[in-house]
């Protein structure tokens, strides 16, 4: 075990795949572009050479049937990982994911579970517009039977990928190309990050900022800047969009009394709505002000860089938003 080894986010996923395929013959990777870095970055580096095209299966553009095949293989005892290099295209696979995988265990009375990982990559920015930019985690989080994980660090990417592969239920693993270059410490051994457990990225006593995935980095950056102005933000990275770690949010609220939810998805019926609803139900007595949400506007992703800049929340507008919030409500 090396303590000081740093790894890129994408290579942390790569290491998880290498290790899990090596220890478990049932694990295989299938999807469009698994042998092409253009599609999947370096997450699949060396897999084809090591495990062959039987277990690293590049496919035609057939999201529905390929995802269904992953579900069927899982029903037949395998542990497939099905990758969608752009999660916009994953919409073609809603039937096998929702109708089949999510419902299978329940509607068959617990006779057979579906240990499949559906991996969707959010791949936005760069003027790619509405159909090459979408973050659709909230849609999957709505569905009983699915788990949804969204790691923000290399450590969590490896640990949650391994947890997803080992889980007996269908897990939607969502990452973001904006995270791929991030480097951090990653243990060499196999380990898991528990699905459904959030983490406090920065402690603070003035306000709780709940985030997930790429937005956790924006949250931390904003919190560090606000610390210079003596505003102490507690940053929570939920890591799983389903199940949500309710306890970590409520415990933080007991301390701060104020909640801002930050999400890289849309506002209506989204991840931020769910966090807000949980707090309204279970933590209202700790609230000392209204809940604020910072999300994408309810608007498709634009192409023009000028519009893109206005579309995605960044630390500048998070800082401004939190300051105005505290001026209004903090006593």
């Amino acid at each position: 075990m090396s303590i000081n080894r740093k790894l890129q986010y994408s290579l942390a996923i790569n290491e998880a795949l290498h290790q899990m395929m090596a220890v478990n013959d049932s694990v295989f990777l299938m999807g469009q572009g698994v042998k092409s870095p253009w599609y999947v970055g370096n997450t699949a580096r060396g897999l084809l050479e090591k495990f062959g095209n039987g277990r690293v299966i590049d496919t035609p553009v057939s999201e529905n049937s390929i995802t269904g095949a992953g579900v069927g293989a899982a029903i037949a005892g395998m542990r497939p990982i099905i990758v969608h290099p752009r999660m916009d295209f994953m919409l073609y696979a809603m039937d096998p994911i929702i109708n089949e995988a999510a419902n299978w265990y329940y509607m068959n009375g617990g006779r057979v579970s579906v240990p499949v990982v559906i991996w969707g990559i959010i791949n936005r920015g760069g003027e790619q517009a509405a159909q090459h930019s979408q973050a659709l985690h909230s849609i999957f989080s709505h569905v009983p039977g699915l788990k949804v994980v969204m790691p923000s660090t290399p450590y969590d990417a490896k640990g949650l990928m391994i947890a997803a592969i080992e889980d007996d239920n269908p897990v939607v693993f969502i990452d973001d190309r904006w995270l791929y270059g991030i480097e951090d410490f990653v243990p060499e051994e196999i380990y898991i990050v528990e699905i459904g457990k959030g983490i406090i990225r920065k402690e603070g006593s003035d306000i709780t900022l709940v985030s997930i995935s790429f937005m956790a980095h924006q949250a931390l950056e904003a919190a560090n800047r606000l610390a210079e102005e003596n505003i102490h933000v507690e940053v929570i990275d939920l890591r799983s969009a389903k199940p949500i770690d309710t306890e970590i949010i409520i415990d933080s609220l007991k301390k701060t009394g104020f909640l801002v939810v930050l999400d890289g998805g849309w506002k209506t019926c989204g991840f931020s709505s769910e966090v807000a609803a949980i707090v309204a139900e279970k933590g209202y007595q700790y609230l000392r002000g209204p809940i604020r949400r910072i999300t994408l506007p309810d608007c498709p992703a634009p192409a023009s860089s000028v519009l893109e800049k206005a579309y995605y929340p960044n630390s500048d507008n998070i800082v401004a938003n939190i300051k105005s919030y505290l001026e209004n409500f903090h006593r």
């Binding site: 295989f28 529905n64 049937s65 269904g68 089949e100 329940y106 509607m107």
Partner: protein
């Protein structure tokens, strides 16, 4: 020719077992004892019986909304099936699935689902799993003519051919996609031809002739076991009852779908009476033996219905059990 008596009796028994079981549901449905929608398999028995005869419990069968017949033909217990249709805790899916979600992994019955064409890709995945593990297991996907309208079927034909998967596509063409006759769904009524451009071996079979289905199924399954799959079979057949429930969908009745003459002409091609006639005329099996089978099945149906009706319902407090494992 040269079929063993055992094989002939098996085929006959399976068909009678399906028919008697299906027909036993008519009264309970009409009386409201069964609430769950039932898509009866009566009339199509030769397909399930003929195909499944060449499969074993290590193979993988995936079905549809109309899969009571597949379940029984693979050797599923009639008690488990009927208890599920009555949505009892003792059913094969513990009353959580009902008539359209039938499963018994120990018998190779991997599940059924009513999303049209929704399980074809699952069967393909099971075939892929068999290949990856270097096994000789074959997957069979049963689906109806309506599924030929869904894009995923064509994706599967392509991918299964590309990877030479041990998958038998079995299209049960009963000429109606719920209410819509096939000529209103497609220009070419010969569905097996859709497999040709994918270089998938395909053929059309008289789905009311159990021996023809058996021959075609056996050959297709053997091909797949030898690694020469996939294969596509179109079995032309006819459901004696409506899309759902016991109504016969005759024109002029309140469901008003099929011409009376058409239904009557197919009733004359009943796969069971046809096979019975063949067996007796050729002195292959005795009337006594066939009567014995019918008696044995009648008893099984009676016993299974009793079992189902007397079984407990799932408990309300267990509502959310089985959402996650």
């Amino acid at each position: 020719m040269g079929y063993s008596r055992e094989l002939l009796a098996n085929l006959y028994r399976t068909m009678v077992r399906i028919r008697f079981c299906e027909e036993s549901l008519v009264k309970p449905i009409l009386k409201g004892e069964i609430i769950c929608p039932c898509h009866l398999y009566s009339g199509q028995e030769a397909v399930a019986a003929g195909i499944c005869e060449s499969l074993n419990e290590k193979d993988y069968v995936f079905g549809t909304h109309r899969s009571h017949g597949h379940f029984l033909a693979m050797g599923g217990a009639m008690r488990d099936l009927l208890a599920e249709i009555f949505t009892r805790e003792t059913g094969c899916s513990r009353g959580r699935g009902g008539s359209m979600h039938l499963i018994d992994p120990g018998k190779g019955i991997m599940g059924a689902a009513p999303i049209v064409a929704g399980t074809i890709s699952l069967a393909m995945g099971a075939a892929l799993a068999s290949n990856l593990r270097g096994e000789k297991r074959v997957a069979v996907s049963f689906f109806g003519d309506g599924a030929a309208g869904e894009g995923v079927l064509y994706e599967c034909l392509n991918f299964a051919a590309l990877k030479k998967l041990p998958l038998v596509f079995v299209c049960e063409n009963n000429f109606y996609s719920t209410h819509m006759p096939i000529q209103e769904c497609r220009v070419n009524g010969d569905i097996y031809k859709i497999a040709e451009p994918f270089s998938v071996k395909s053929s059309k079979v008289d789905g009311n002739d159990v021996l023809k289905v058996y021959e075609a199924g056996k050959e297709a399954i053997e091909f797949c076991r030898k690694g020469e799959g996939p294969v596509f079979l179109e079995c032309k057949t006819y459901r004696f009852r409506g899309h759902v429930g016991p109504d016969d969908n005759i024109q002029g009745t309140h469901t008003d779908i099929r011409p009376r003459e058409e239904v009557e002409s197919w009733l004359k091609k009943d796969p069971i009476t046809r096979f019975e006639k063949y067996l007796l005329e050729n002195n292959l099996l005795s009337e006594k033996l066939l009567d014995g089978i019918k008696k044995e099945i009648s008893d099984e149906v009676e016993e299974s219905i009793e079992f189902a009706k007397n079984s407990p319902y799932p408990e309300a407090k267990e509502l959310t059990r089985y959402v996650y494992k």
